[in-house]
């Protein structure tokens, strides 16, 4: 178990603005003891990178109800470029099967589909956060 609560960014990229799902997931992660940084939709890839860095999060959760998950491979590259490879990335929402494979290939840890139990989401995010903390560069050497 981690000593301090996992920090998770829950956000949306691209153009769609439906945020019921992301709000519910944010509440579920809070109820599982995590600190959730919540943003409005329509973040650019660069915004997400900056948020992940400024807020020093362990996990980024992207909610995608339309086709905005198509931007996630680009996000993975940008995170890496910003030396944020340790941050875990999950995607939740409506992601067709073959595109799920593309996301996983790009480095996304997990895609959650509608109807995924909140408990399961919280459990996996928490695990990812613990991994991220281990892999994060140490500030005080």
């Amino acid at each position: 178990m981690m000593q301090t609560p996992p920090r998770v960014l829950v956000t949306k990229i691209g153009l769609d603005g439906h945020d019921r799902g992301s709000r519910l997931v944010a509440a579920a992660l809070r109820d599982a003891g995590m600190e959730v940084i919540y943003t409005p939709p329509w973040q650019d890839v660069e915004d997400v990178v900056r948020l992940a860095q400024d807020e020093d999060v362990d996990v980024v959760g992207i909610s995608s109800l339309a086709t905005d998950h198509l931007l996630v491979p680009g996000l993975m590259v940008a995170l890496k470029r910003a030396h944020l490879d340790h941050v875990g990335v999950v995607v939740g929402g409506i992601v067709p099967h073959d595109e799920e494979a593309l996301l996983i290939e790009a480095g996304v840890s997990r895609v959650f589909h509608p109807g995924s139990p909140m408990e399961e989401i919280a459990r996996e995010v928490s695990q990812l956060a613990a991994n991220a903390r281990q892999q994060a560069p140490e500030l005080l050497d």
């Binding site: 769609d16 945020d19 519910l24 409005p40 939709p41 198509l70 109807g115």
Partner: protein
Amino acid sequence: MAKSNTPRKLEPDGQQDPDRERWQRDYQAQLPAETPVVNRSGIRINPLYDETNWSGTRYTQQLGYPGQIPMTRGIYPSMHRGQTWSQRQLIGFGVPSDYNARLHKLLESGVSAVSLIPCNSVYRGFDADQVPRELLGTCGVVLNTVDDMDACFSGVDIAQLSTAQNDPSPFTLLALLLAVAKRRGIPWTRITGTSNQSDYISHYVANHMFFRLALPGARRMLVDHIAFTLEQVPGWNPLSIVGQHMQQAGATPAEAMAFTLCTAIQYAQDCIDRGLDPELFFPRFTFFFDISISLFEEIAKFRAGRRIWASIVRDTFGVKNPKAWRFKFHAQTSGVDLTRQQPLNNISRVTAQAIAGILGGLQSLHTDAYDEVLCVPTEDAARIAINTQNILREEAHLTDVIDPLGGSYYVEALTDQMEDKIREVMDTVESAGGMYKAVQEGIVQTRIGESALGFQRSLDTGEQTLVGVNAYESEGVEPPVAVLERPNKESVTQYLEGLDTYKQSRDTPAVARTLDELATAANSERQNVYAAVVTAATAGATHGEIVARLREEFGTGDPLIVP
């Protein structure tokens, strides 16, 4: 009429019926420790309804006849027995030529009313060259210029076709359509249809993607749009007030109805303040609702909403025109109730939802395709969705009798209770100073968020069953692999090139001048901003340019997000 309906039995405060007492005892004996049944709006549901809950003595006062006050039974004398409802399915994908091909297919099948769903880049107020190209045309048609609109309706007589456009403020799509009409020499008086997404408050609160201009600008824009169309495009419905977004975002059915009615009141007041004639604008108001699977609750929601609206327009606003009292609504079956697990089950869900909407007296219906939770609907799934409506109408005979549940003890009692609940929520909005102020304060957003959370908890705990998700799960039954429909990459590239050429080959000074005039109009109380939008579109300005210019003057719309 009411007198001949005097109940045979006694009213609740009178003497108890011995048979009824016996039934109560027997019921208690069979179910001594029953968990209370509560609907989504928070109304406790009895095991049985009888004359103690509703009696025919209030027939005239509460029901009346179809097309008459209090409108509970329907807004037209013949309702579905005469004209059933418009079957509107959403279309919009790829580039204008894709839309046009799909449209011709639909027209061959005999439809006379179509929808136009633009790409999400359009919703956000951008031209195609301003967004990541991976996203173009994936959720709707990319449409930025008068040429694009012309291409969408190529080979189609737009004077014969009613279009429902998903066209948020500042209503650039209608402006482009009017520009096409001008180009084709068709008078605007012959253009018919609806601005489907004109309700900016619902975008500020719930469907944030559509919210383009800051609140005061959006407010001004809507009233100008209504004023303009009333005068210039009289066959156009400039306003559809959308309860659907709020219910999709988590509002209970009663809350969604209440917030929608409060929004309508706000818009009506704004129109009156602007000096528009209520006798003229009220008949042009239409509504758009979500239909959840909570069948009786939805039926009661629609019946109660119809009654409240008639009384608001007639009694509160004092409008004499009976057409204005009609609560005309389109409804869409709720995607929130659909599941990815065992998706064919969604056909049953959509059927139940559609029954609720039909028995609730809708004027127009969209049934969701069963695969909507997996992908953009496939053609097969879309056909089943349409046939669900045909089956309900022509095989199940749902339309033989007007308001067939009228007089049911349960449905009437529930309609009364829903009305109370709706009015209660409306009171909270009114005491906050009306809908505009309430949403600025986040009161509505907070309440919707709480309701969404409450519903999610009921799913998490299993209190509310969701077949295939928290009950009756089938091990090993994987969701089918969805068929991906993504726009052709080459046509997107061609589109972008075409847009570039368009921008270079038009009368640039004229475009610049009309955009400047648009800015001037936005800053002048005396001019109609929407007229300036139409002029700019006609001169060749693109959708994105018009929105950008108005964002400079009015401010960009940032919806209030209450996490």
